[in-house]
């Protein structure tokens, strides 16, 4: 039983990591139906910026929590700027192009950002400081789930709720939903569609950056390639939960994480990906629009 609990703890940990990154993915897709393949790279950039800021703050003698908050803040601002620029130069010019064009443009931006960080920073792995302190009260269960894991899980949950509220109840959220339903119509009723989409990218990038800081701090190492794997797994999680659906991203992440951990624990960790993608295939066969996704009829 305790072995099962340990595996569940491990599954929740990695599931919440996937969920955290999948949130941004699914939100951008929900509004403009674009799979932003550069999302993983924004996550990686966020981690790098946080590392630089954390290094500088440590020299100036800030305390752990202050560093985590400030580094997260700076990373979020930077990532927002990257997300905004990305949308401006790579996606906006292709707004009316066939759907394949922005997809290819997204892959191009992903490759560009990876190589840019490799050249500007380093091709090596870098140590990332453990910014999340270990709580003393967690010690009895530390072998099952640690402090950093709990923080990541809680952050995913809070962000999920905040995003849902933002989209459901705020003015800009209403504009986002209108844009999603019909871009031309939204324009006719006076919604600045370009501004709404830029905002969507900014929020998505902030989420990715927060993920980068927390996950970097949990894993203790980063390099320019981490965005790729994170992006693939988060994308899988988003599809699993129903792409475009915000609670679905979190659910999809957790299902994916638990599947992997249990498969690794009871079968073989060499084949955990086989099980993860096997579950994806199964769910897509049984529920083509994902766990929480609603079947959408193509607009004519």
């Amino acid at each position: 039983m305790s072995y099962f609990l340990e595996l569940v703890g491990s599954g929740l940990t990695r599931g919440s990591i996937y969920a955290l990154i999948a949130l941004g993915y699914t939100m951008v897709y929900g509004i403009i139906q674009l799979i932003n393949f550069a999302h993983g790279e924004i996550y990686m950039l966020g981690a790098f910026i946080a590392l630089i800021v954390a290094g500088a703050l440590t020299i100036h003698g800030f305390s752990g929590w202050a560093i985590l908050l400030l580094a997260g803040l700076v990373a979020a601002v930077y990532a927002a700027a990257y997300g905004y620029t990305l949308e401006r130069i790579a996606y906006r010019p292709l707004r009316n192009a066939p759907r394949l064009s922005p997809l290819i443009s997204a892959i191009g931006m992903s490759l560009f950002l990876q190589n840019y960080v490799m050249l500007a920073q380093t091709p090596d792995f870098l140590p990332f400081p453990a910014l999340i302190p270990e709580f003393a009260f967690m010690e009895p269960v530390a072998h099952i789930i640690g402090s950093a894991e709990v923080l990541i899980l809680a952050t995913s949950a809070v962000l999920m709720i905040a995003l849902t509220v933002l989209i459901k109840y705020s003015r800009i959220g209403k504009a986002m939903r209108a844009t999603q339903q019909d871009m031309a119509m939204a324009r006719l009723v006076g919604i600045d569609v370009d501004r709404v989409i830029s905002f969507t990218f900014v929020v998505g990038s902030v989420l990715a950056a927060i993920g980068g800081v927390l996950v970097g701090s949990y894993l203790g190492q980063i390099n320019f390639t981490i965005g790729f794997m994170a992006g693939i797994k988060a994308f899988t999680a988003a599809v699993l939960g129903g792409i475009g659906n915000i609670p679905g991203a979190v659910l999809g992440g957790l299902v994916l994480g638990l599947t992997e951990a249990l498969a690794a624990g009871y079968v073989s960790s060499a084949y955990e990906d086989v099980f993860a993608f096997g579950v994806l295939v199964l769910i897509l066969i049984l529920r083509p629009s994902g766990l929480l996704g609603r079947a959408v009829r193509e607009k004519v």
């Binding site: 072998h143 640690g146 190492q221 073989s268």
Partner: protein, 373 residues
């Protein structure tokens, strides 16, 4: 006016003459240097490239080899088999007469067939997969480092004899190098019978989290972990083992040695064991080459620098002895001739492995790898 034309034309004439002066020199001997020079495994390949470049510049300054200049053809394979095959084709088409490389076993394997077709000898400083020599498929392959199964056997013996482990968990990264090491360790343990292999499993390199497999190690009741793979995953494993409060010895191959594990895993690396090439600092040629490097770059050379230098030294000595780069002559010189190198006095056995090189066990103590006596 006419004067100026005359002056210009004489300059132009002189400029025309220059290339013919260069042509008058003998054609260079082209030696390929292939390995990972970029990407996350670049730290394994760059030291060999630097060694070859430094030694070649020195040799050319002294008049070259057999009266001919030596030209290096440096190509980057990023340790990826698919790129390595392209690199090998480029080596052949650009006229490399022998190759130092490749660095990673998987990439080396992908390149060797192409070299074999073209009758080109390759000497790797670091590709330690046993099958590369033992398999007998690549008679054109040599290496200045001992194969993995020696490392795996050493790790197995160390775990049972020195660490007194009875139940061993073996993990690997599913790659040629990591799995080769893990297989050899498992075979040695099973043959020896002193300890049981309670877990043998692969992990996915680059995956975000290894806590599930770590729980599995605990569940299996292992009292030591043998890991076959490279330092990025090893760093993650030791850090997450500490997080999950599992305190058992961790031993890996020479892919863990070097500064990578020390900087990334930091304090978590403390106590980690790794098998690695024997200490070669006592050889005079080694000290000499390292001192030259220190003078030129102002820092200590990185991973496989000595083996890289040795690959260059054995190759140059063989070309000297053979009087050229004829395949059969080179083969005879490499196998029959003891050469003073950065890793000691070596020659190659019938399969292409260097006689006289081997492994020792190291442990991280105080942020440094120290040999365990």
């Amino acid at each position: 006016m006419t004067n100026r034309i005359k002056r210009w034309s004489s300059i132009a004439f002189a400029a025309l003459l220059l290339p013919s002066l260069v042509l008058a020199e003998k054609p260079p001997i082209v030696i390929g240097v292939a390995g990972s020079h970029s990407g996350d495994l670049a730290p394994y390949g760059i030291p060999t490239k630097e060694a070859a470049e430094m030694l070649t510049a020195d040799l050319n300054a002294k008049g070259g080899l057999l009266g001919r200049p030596v030209k290096l053809l440096v190509l980057d394979d990023q340790c990826k088999p698919e790129i390595a095959a392209n690199v090998a084709t480029a080596m052949v088409s650009q006229g490399a007469q022998a190759v130092i490389g490749h660095i990673c076993s998987g990439a080396t394997k992908a390149a060797l067939g192409i070299y074999k077709e073209a009758k080109i000898i390759a000497i790797s400083p670091s590709a330690t997969n046993p099958a590369l020599t033992m398999g007998g498929d690549y008679p054109n392959f040599y290496r200045t480092i001992a194969p993995d199964d020696k490392q795996g056997q050493m790790a197995a013996a160390f775990v049972t004899a020195k660490l007194a482990a009875n139940q061993v968990a073996i993990l690997h990264d599913k790659g040629d190098y990591g799995k080769g090491f893990a297989d050899a360790a498992r075979m040695a343990l099973e043959k020896d019978g002193k300890a049981k292999v309670v877990l043998f499993d692969g992990i996915t390199p680059g995956a975000m989290d290894y806590s599930a497999v770590i729980q599995k190690v605990r569940h299996a009741g292992a009292d030591a972990v043998i890991y076959g793979g490279y330092h990025p995953e090893a760093s993650k494993l030791v850090a997450q083992m500490k997080k999950k409060r599992i305190d058992i010895p961790f031993i890996g191959p020479d892919g863990l040695m070097g500064s990578g594990l020390l900087t990334i895993a930091g304090a978590n690396a403390e106590g980690v064991y790794a098998t690695g090439p024997m200490d070669v600092a006592r050889y005079p040629l080694n000290q000499q080459v390292r001192a030259a490097y220190q003078k030129k770059f102002g820092r200590e050379p990185g991973m496989f620098f000595d083996q890289g230098a040795a690959a260059w030294q054995t190759l140059v000595a063989a070309i000297q002895k053979a009087g050229g780069t004829d395949y059969a002559e080179l083969e005879r010189a490499l196998k029959g001739n003891l050469v003073e190198t950065s890793v000691g006095k070596i020659k190659f056995d019938a399969k292409g492995d260097a006689e006289g090189v081997g492994f020792a066990v190291y442990q991280v103590r105080g942020g440094k790898f120290v040999e365990v006596k």
